[in-house]
C-alpha cells in the first residue's frame, strides 16, 4: 500500500499545484526550420475532459484572443497525459512524467508552412523539475522515498539530447534527517538556484515535515552542477511547491522567492509563518533581511499557489480562493514585488476548475500573460493585463481543458 501511496501523492499534488513554460525571451533561436520569416503560431495543449483513454493534443492556431478551436479531428495526439511542456530556443519540448520509468521526450518546431512538426525524440528520465539554463533545459528527477539521490540532467536544446548529468544526495543536502525535495530550479547568472522543501520521505506521511518554518535554496555551479551553498531563511516556509516554481530573477538581477506557507504534517498545514515574498539581492549569498512582502496581509488572508512573471517586477499570482487554505480552487492577483502592491484580477470565471499554470505564455511586453482557464462552462484562453489587473476571455478550446500555451516563430 505504501507504494500506492507514494504513487498517488504526486497525482494528488499535481491537481492542486503548477509555472511558466513559455517565455518570449526576445531570443530569436533558430527561427524554425522555415528559416525565420518572423511569423508566429501559437501552440495549445489540451487534455480531453474524459477520465479514461486520455491523451494530450497539440493544436496550432494564429490567434488566441478570439474564436474557437476543437480537438475533434484536429491536433497532434501525444502518447498520454501528464506531459509537461517547455519552450526554449524556438523549440517546443513535450516531456513525460514517467513515474520512475524512462520515457520519450518529443521536440517540435514549425516548418516553413507554419505546421508543427516533430524534430526529434530522445529518451529521458521521468521529469519533475524542468527549467531553462543558457542553451540547455535542466530537468531533475527527485525520489521522494527510498533512493537518496536526485538526478539532474542537462539537455542540449539544439541537439535534443542529454549533455550531462549529476547526482545529488538529498538526504545529505537536507542534513536534518529528512530529504531535500527540489520544488523547482531557476537560472541566476551562471548559477542554478534550486529551492527545496524538506520532506520525511517515509510512509505514510511522505510529503510531511517536522521543519515547516524554514526555506532553503541550493545553489549549483553550471554546467558541472556542483553544490556550492545552501541559502536559508526562517521567516517563511519553503519556496514554491512540488511542481511549482517559487523563485524568479527579475531584470535587476534580484531573485524573488514565493512561499505559500504550505508545509504540512499528516496532510495538515503546520507552518506558523505567513505566505510571503522574500528576496535574495543580486549576487548575495543570503536572503535580504529587510525585505518581506506578506501576501496574506496584502490579500486579506489568502495564500500563494503559483506565479508567472510579467516582467518589470510584476507577477501574475494564483492565490487559493479560500482564506488560510493551501489547496483547492484558485483566483488571480497581480502583484508588484518592488512596489509591494497587490490587486485582485477581475474578469476571470468565478469557479475555476483548472488552469494552465505550468505552461502559461508570457507575451514579453511586460504586461501580458496568456493562461488557459477551465470551468464547468468550458476552457478558454484568457489574457491578463498587468497594468489594469483585468482578464479578457479569448479563444475557446472545445472538448478539453487547456494545459499549456506556447508560441513559436517560423
Amino acid at each position: 500500500m505504501k507504494n500506492v501511496t507514494r504513487l498517488l501523492l504526486p497525482v494528488l499534488c499535481m491537481g492542486t499545484l503548477w509555472t511558466a513554460c513559455s517565455k518570449d525571451e526576445g531570443q530569436p533561436g533558430n527561427g524554425g526550420e522555415g528559416g525565420g520569416q518572423g511569423k508566429t503560431k501559437y501552440i495549445i495543449a489540451s487534455t480531453p475532459v474524459a477520465s479514461t483513454g486520455v491523451a494530450d493534443y497539440l493544436l496550432t492556431t494564429d490567434n488566441i484572443t478570439q474564436g474557437a478551436i476543437s480537438t475533434q479531428g484536429n491536433g497532434k495526439e501525444q502518447d498520454g497525459t501528464y506531459r509537461y511542456y517547455i519552450t526554449h530556443r524556438n523549440r517546443f519540448f513535450s516531456l513525460l512524467y514517467g513515474q520512475g520509468n524512462p520515457g520519450a521526450v518529443t521536440t517540435y518546431n514549425l516548418n516553413a508552412g507554419g505546421e508543427l512538426i516533430k524534430v526529434s525524440d530522445f529518451q529521458s528520465e521521468t521529469v519533475q523539475v524542468h527549467t531553462t539554463m543558457n542553451d540547455d533545459i535542466v530537468t531533475m528527477k527527485v525520489p521522494r522515498s527510498g533512493n537518496e539521490n536526485a538526478l539532474v540532467f542537462r539537455i542540449d536544446a539544439q541537439k535534443s539530447q542529454i549533455a550531462g548529468e549529476a547526482q545529488v544526495n538529498i538526504v545529505h543536502l537536507a542534513g536534518n534527517g529528512e530529504r531535500a525535495h527540489f520544488t523547482w530550479a531557476t537560472q541566476a547568472g551562471n548559477k542554478l538556484f534550486a529551492p527545496y522543501m524538506s520532506i520525511k520521505g517515509a510512509a505514510p506521511d511522505v510529503f510531511g515535515t517536522s521543519f515547516p518554518d524554514s526555506c532553503w535554496v541550493a545553489v549549483f555551479s553550471y554546467p558541472d552542477l556542483k553544490l556550492e551553498r545552501v541559502i536559508r531563511d526562517n521567516r517563511t516556509s519553503y519556496l514554491g511547491a512540488y511542481f511549482t516554481s517559487g523563485l524568479v530573477q527579475t531584470e535587476s538581477g534580484d531573485l524573488y522567492g514565493f512561499s505559500g506557507s504550505s508545509a504540512t504534517s499528516n496532510g495538515t498545514p503546520t507552518s506558523t509563518k505567513p505566505s510571503a515574498v522574500v528576496r535574495i539581492k543580486k549576487d548575495a549569498t543570503e536572503f535580504d533581511k529587510n525585505y518581506l512582502f506578506n501576501l496574506e496581509t496584502a490579500s486579506g488572508g489568502h495564500r500563494f499557489a503559483n506565479q508567472t512573471y510579467f516582467g518589470n517586477g510584476k507577477f501574475l499570482l494564483e492565490m487559493y480562493a479560500e482564506k488560510g487554505k493551501t489547496s483547492g480552487k484558485v483566483k488571480f492577483a497581480v502583484v508588484d514585488v518592488t512596489a509591494q502592491t497587490f490587486a485582485w484580477v477581475t474578469g476571470t470565471p468565478a469557479d475555476i476548475t483548472s488552469t494552465s499554470r505550468l505552461c502559461n505564455l508570457v507575451a514579453g511586453d511586460d504586461k501580458t500573460i496568456y493562461a488557459g482557464l477551465t470551468d464547468a462552462g468550458g476552457s478558454y484562453v484568457y489574457s491578463f493585463d498587468a497594468t489594469t489587473a483585468k482578464a479578457t476571455r479569448g479563444l475557446k478550446v472545445e472538448g478539453g481543458k487547456i494545459t499549456g500555451i506556447a508560441k513559436l516563430t517560423y
Binding site: 500500500m1 505504501k2 507504494n3 500506492v4 507514494r6 504513487l7 497525482v11 480531453p48 475532459v49 474524459a50 477520465s51 479514461t52 483513454g53 486520455v54 491523451a55 493534443y57 476543437s70 480537438t71 475533434q72 479531428g73 484536429n74 497532434k76 495526439e77 502518447d79 513525460l96 512524467y97 514517467g98 513515474q99 520512475g100 520509468n101 524512462p102 520515457g103 520519450a104 526529434s120 525524440d121 530522445f122 529518451q123 529521458s124 528520465e125 527510498g146 533512493n147 537518496e148 539521490n149 541537439k159 535534443s160 542529454i162 547526482q167 517515509a202 510512509a203 505514510p204 506521511d205 510531511g208 504534517s265 496532510g267 503546520t270 464547468a376 462552462g377 468550458g378 472545445e398 472538448g399
Partner: protein, 793 residues
C-alpha cells in the same frame, strides 16, 4: 470447439421392430455385440435386417439379440450415433442360433429425425439456452497452446498479450475486460490463485473442455461476473489414465505436462497434474534504442529481448475416494506452484529494464465433496473450498539504467530501475462454494449456490522496516447467493430463471500520524459495504432438431474487487472510491446445421448481443503512464454481433471462420465538473479491439504409414482490425494499434490410435510484427515440436 458442432448433432431412431412373419419353418436367433475399435461397447445401436421389419437395439453392454428368423440369407445393417454404418451378410441355417459381432468405426453422422440420446459433453454445453461456446480441449492436446491462446479462437473473445510466454494477458469478452469476466476451474472461482496458476501458464492438456458464457452466467457459477464467465473443466471422467507431453521450441521454450489418474476398485482415487513452462522469450523486436548517455534514439533497431525469462512450475495433487455411500466424491488436494518473471519493459517499449523481476508462489490446500441423491432422490450436493497461502513479490534493487543494447549505467547509492522495492505480500484468500440442486421431475429442477470469499492482504518490504507499521489493513469478505429454477417443457423448449444476491464488506484503514512526532501512528478505519441483487432469464427453443433459437438476459453486477480497491502494487493502483458496476446484458442467437449432397456438412451460428453498462469500471493507464487504475465510467453500451460458419467433409476435412464485431460506445453526456455536452459522447471506446475473427482448417489423413496412425495438417488465421489507442474522434495525427494478421500451421502425427503423438507447429508463419497493446511487440515466427504419450484404461 466448433469441430464437434459440425461433426454432428446426433439423433438415433428408436425403432421398435416386431416380428411379423408367421411362417412355420424352424427359426434361429442372431446375437452378438457391437463394439468400437477400442473394445468399448456401442450401446443403443440399431441392428436391422434388410428387406424386413425385424430389428433390435444393442443394450448398454453393446449386446443385441434379433428376433428369431427363418432360415435364409440376410443382410444385417448396424447404425449408431457417431459411427459409420456397417453391413454384414449372413446365411442362417434353420434352427441354428448364430453369433455375429460388429465393430463400428467412429464417424460424423447425423440422422434427421427424432430423439437425441447421445452427445458429447461439449455439445451438451453448446445446446444450453445460454450464449455459450465450449471448446473441446481434447482436440487440442497435441498443440502447444495454453488456455489463453485456445480461448483466443472463440468468437467474442480477444486475449491481448504484453509479450511472449508468461507475459501478462488481458482477456476481453464482448468488450468486457479484466475482472468483469470471471474464471472458474470445475465451477470453482479462480480469483485467488495468484500469478503461478493462470490462463497464461496452464497448458491446454489440463482441461477437458473450456466453456465461455457470454453476458449471462448460469447460477452454478456463483460469482459477480458482469460480462460473462469462463469455466475450465478438467478431465476426470477417465478412471485410470496417463498423459505426458513435452514441447520444445523457439526462444529456448520448454514446456511439459503430466496428467495422471488412478482409481482402484475400492474407490480410492489419485489425480496428479503437473506442468512446467520455461522460456527465455528472447525474441527479436524492432525498437528505437536510446543512447545510454545522451538519450538520442537509434531508430528501428532490431534487438533481442534480453531480460524476459519466464518460468513456472505447478503441481496439483488430489487424493480421495469415489462412489462411496457417504460421498460420490471426496477429494483432498493441494496446489503447489511458483513462477519467476523478468520484467523487460514498462508500459511502453522505450522503458527497458535489465534486472527487475517479479515472483510468486501458490500453496493452496483444497477440499471437494460431492454427494448425489442426498436424503432424497434427485437432491445433489457439491461443496468445495480452498485457501491460498501464496505470496507475490516485486524485486527491484539494482540502481541501474539499461538500454536495448544491454548497455547500462550504474548509479551510486541505493536505488532501483523503477522504484526500489522488495515488497512482498500475501492475499490470504479463502473460498468456499456450495451447490445444492434438486430435480423434482423431468420438468422442474432447482438450484441453490453459495460462494463465500475472504481476503486479507498482508505485506511488508524488508528494505523499509520502518514502514511496516504503516501497512494498512485491507480486508474483504464477499458472499454470493444464487437461486435458479429450470423448466423443461419438453425436449424442444427449456427456460431458466435465476436470481443472485451479492454482499461485500471491505475494511480498509488509513494510517496517519496523530501527533506529528516521528513514528507516531494511528488508523482511520474505513468500511464500505455493497449489497446488490441481480437476476436473469434464459430460454431455448428447437424449431427443428437442427434449428435452435436462444435468448437470455441478465441484470448483472460486479463488485469492485480487492485488486481494484487496493491495487496489485505493480501495475494497478488502488482506488477505494469505486462503485459496483452494473449491466443489462441481452443475447439473442440462432444456430442451424444442414448438409449438401450427403457429405458436405455446414453449421451456422449467430449471436446478437446488447450490453448497457453503467458505472463501467475500466482500466486506463494512470496519468503517469506506467500503472493502470480502475475508474467508474458513467455509461457505456455495446451492440455486437458474432457469427460462425463451419464446414466439414466426411472425416477428411473441417474448416470454419468466425467474426466478431462490437460497437462499444461512450454514452456519458456530461463529464464530472463540466456542464458542457461531452464531445466524446457516442465516441467509440478507445484501445479496444472492435472487429476481429479467426479461421481454421484441418485435414485428417488416416492410415498414413500404417493402420491406426493419423496425420493431420492444420492451419489457423487470426485477424484483428486496427484500433485507436485514444479517443477516435480526437486529433488528426493519431496513435493506433495496427492490424494483426497471423497465420499458424501445424502437423500432427498420431500413432497407435493416438497413444504416441508428435506435433510440429509454426506460429506467426509470415513473421508479422504484432502488437496487442500499444508499442509492445509480440514474438515473430516461432517453431515448436511437441511429443505426447497418452494411455487410458
Amino acid at each position: 470447439m466448433q469441430y464437434i458442432k459440425v461433426l454432428l448433432t446426433g439423433f438415433l431412431c428408436l425403432h421398435f421392430f416386431s416380428v411379423l412373419s408367421q411362417e412355420p419353418s424352424p427359426r434361429a436367433i442372431i446375437t452378438g455385440h457391437v463394439k468400437q475399435p477400442s473394445g468399448q461397447p456401442v450401446p443403443f445401436a440399431t441392428v436391422k435386417v434388410q428387406n424386413s421389419t425385424a430389428g433390435a437395439l444393442s443394450d448398454i453392454k453393446g449386446v443385441y439379440t434379433l428376433p428369431a428368423l427363418p432360415a435364409g440369407e440376410y443382410t444385417i445393417t448396424v447404425t449408431a450415433l457417431g459411427f459409420e454404418t456397417q453391413e454384414k451378410k449372413i446365411r442362417l441355417q434353420g434352427g441354428a442360433n448364430t453369433t455375429l459381432h460388429f465393430q463400428l468405426a467412429p464417424a460424423a453422422r447425423d440422422i434427421d429425425e427424432v430423439m437425441v440420446i447421445g452427445r458429447t459433453a461439449t455439445q451438451e454445453v453448446n445446446r444450453q439456452s445460454y450464449n455459450v461456446t465450449a471448446i473441446d480441449a481434447t482436440k487440442l492436446y497435441n498443440s502447444t497452446l495454453d488456455l489463453s491462446h485456445a480461448l483466443d479462437r472463440v468468437s467474442g473473445v480477444r486475449v491481448r498479450e504484453n509479450g511472449g510466454l508468461g507475459s501478462r494477458i488481458n482477456f476481453s469478452l464482448n468488450g468486457f475486460t479484466g475482472r468483469q469476466v470471471r474464471f472458474f476451474i470445475d465451477g470453482i472461482p479462480m480469483d485467488n490463485f495468484g500469478s503461478s496458476f493462470q490462463l497464461n501458464n496452464i497448458p491446454i492438456n489440463l482441461a477437458e473442455r473450456v466453456e465461455v458464457y457470454k453476458g449471462v452466467v448460469p447460477v452454478w457459477l456463483g460469482s459477480d461476473a458482469l460480462g460473462g464467465a469462463v469455466n475450465i473443466v478438467t478431465g476426470q471422467q477417465l478412471r485410470t489414465y496417463l498423459d505426458v507431453s513435452y514441447s520444445y521450441g523457439s526462444f529456448n521454450t520448454h514446456r511439459s505436462a503430466i496428467n495422471a489418474g488412478y482409481t482402484a476398485k475400492s474407490g480410492f482415487t489419485l489425480q496428479l497434474n503437473a506442468f512446467q513452462n520455461y522460456s527465455d522469450n528472447n525474441y527479436p523486436v524492432y525498437v528505437d534504442v536510446a543512447d545510454i548517455n545522451t538519450g538520442a534514439y537509434y531508430p528501428s533497431q532490431k534487438v533481442r529481448r534480453f531480460h524476459d525469462t519466464y518460468h513456472n512450475e505447478t503441481v496439483i495433487a488430489n487424493v480421495g475416494v469415489v462412489n462411496k455411500k457417504y460421498a460420490d466424491k471426496l477429494l483432498l488436494g493441494i496446489t503447489l506452484g511458483q513462477n519467476h518473471a523478468d520484467v523487460q519493459t514498462g508500459a511502453r517499449m522505450v522503458s527497458v529494464f535489465g534486472k527487475f523481476y517479479t515472483r510468486g508462489n501458490i500453496v493452496m490446500p483444497s477440499l471437494k465433496y460431492a454427494k448425489n441423491n442426498l436424503f432424497v432422490k434427485g437432491l445433489n450436493l457439491r461443496v468445495s473450498g480452498n485457501y491460498n497461502l501464496g505470496e507475490e513479490q516485486n524485486v527491484d534493487t539494482v540502481y541501474r539504467r539499461y538500454n536495448w543494447f544491454q548497455q547500462y549505467k550504474t548509479y551510486n547509492g541505493l536505488g532501483g530501475e523503477r522504484e526500489r522495492t522488495l515488497y512482498k505480500y500475501r492475499n490470504n484468500n479463502g473460498l468456499l462454494t456450495s451447490t445444492l440442486d434438486y430435480k423434482l421431475n423431468d420438468h422442474h429442477s432447482f438450484m441453490l449456490n453459495h460462494v463465500f470469499n475472504t481476503f486479507d492482504r498482508k505485506g511488508a518490504d524488508e528494505l523499509y522496516p520502518q514502514s511496516a507499521k504503516y501497512e494498512q489493513p485491507q480486508k474483504l469478505t464477499k458472499n454470493i447467493l444464487g437461486l435458479g429454477y429450470k423448466f423443461d417443457y419438453n425436449n424442444r423448449w427449456s427456460t431458466s430463471l435465476f436470481g443472485k444476491y451479492f454482499m461485500q464488506g471491505t475494511k480498509y484503514s488509513q494510517s496517519y500520524n496523530p501527533s506529528g512526532n516521528w513514528g507516531d501512528i494511528a488508523y482511520r478505519h474505513q468500511q464500505n459495504k455493497f449489497s446488490k441483487t441481480g437476476y436473469g432469464i434464459s430460454s431455448s427453443y428447437f424449431i427443428t432438431p437442427r434449428l435452435q433459437f436462444k435468448g437470455s438476459y441478465e441484470r448483472s453486477f460486479r463488485l469492485p474487487d480487492t485488486y481494484e480497491l487496493f491495487g496489485d502494487l505493480l501495475n494497478l493502483e488502488g482506488n477505494i472510491q469505486l462503485r459496483p458496476e452494473k449491466s443489462d446484458n441481452y443475447n439473442v442467437g440462432a444456430s442451424y446445421s444442414f448438409r449438401l449432397q450427403g457429405d458436405h456438412r455446414f453449421s451456422l451460428d449467430g449471436n446478437f448481443i446488447y450490453r448497457n453498462t453503467a458505472d463501467f469500471i475500466r482500466a486506463s493507464l494512470n496519468q503517469n503512464q506506467t500503472k493502470q487504475v480502475m475508474e467508474n465510467r458513467d455509461r457505456v453500451t455495446n451492440t455486437g454481433f458474432d457469427g460462425e460458419i463451419r464446414y466439414s467433409y466426411k472425416k477428411l476435412l473441417t474448416a470454419g471462420v468466425n467474426a466478431t464485431y462490437q460497437n462499444i460506445r461512450n454514452k456519458t453526456r456530461f463529464e464530472p465538473g463540466s456542464s458542457e455536452h461531452s464531445i466524446l459522447y457516442n465516441d467509440r471506446i478507445p484501445n479496444m479491439p472492435f472487429l476481429y475473427g479467426n479461421g481454421d482448417a484441418s485435414l485428417f489423413l488416416p492410415g498414413v504409414f500404417g493402420k491406426g496412425n493419423t496425420l493431420s495438417l492444420g492451419y489457423n488465421v487470426l485477424f484483428v482490425h486496427a484500433y485507436y489507442l485514444y479517443w477516435p474522434s480526437l486529433g488528426n495525427d493519431k496513435l493506433d494499434i495496427p492490424q494483426q494478421l497471423t497465420h499458424d500451421v501445424n502437423a500432427t502425427y498420431a500413432m497407435a490410435e493416438g497413444r504416441y503423438n508428435i506435433a510440429l507447429e509454426c506460429k506467426n508463419l509470415a513473421d508479422a510484427r504484432l502488437y496487442d497493446n500499444f508499442s509492445l511487440q509480440k514474438p515473430g515466427r516461432a517453431f515448436y515440436v511437441k511429443l505426447r504419450y497418452f494411455f487410458k484404461k
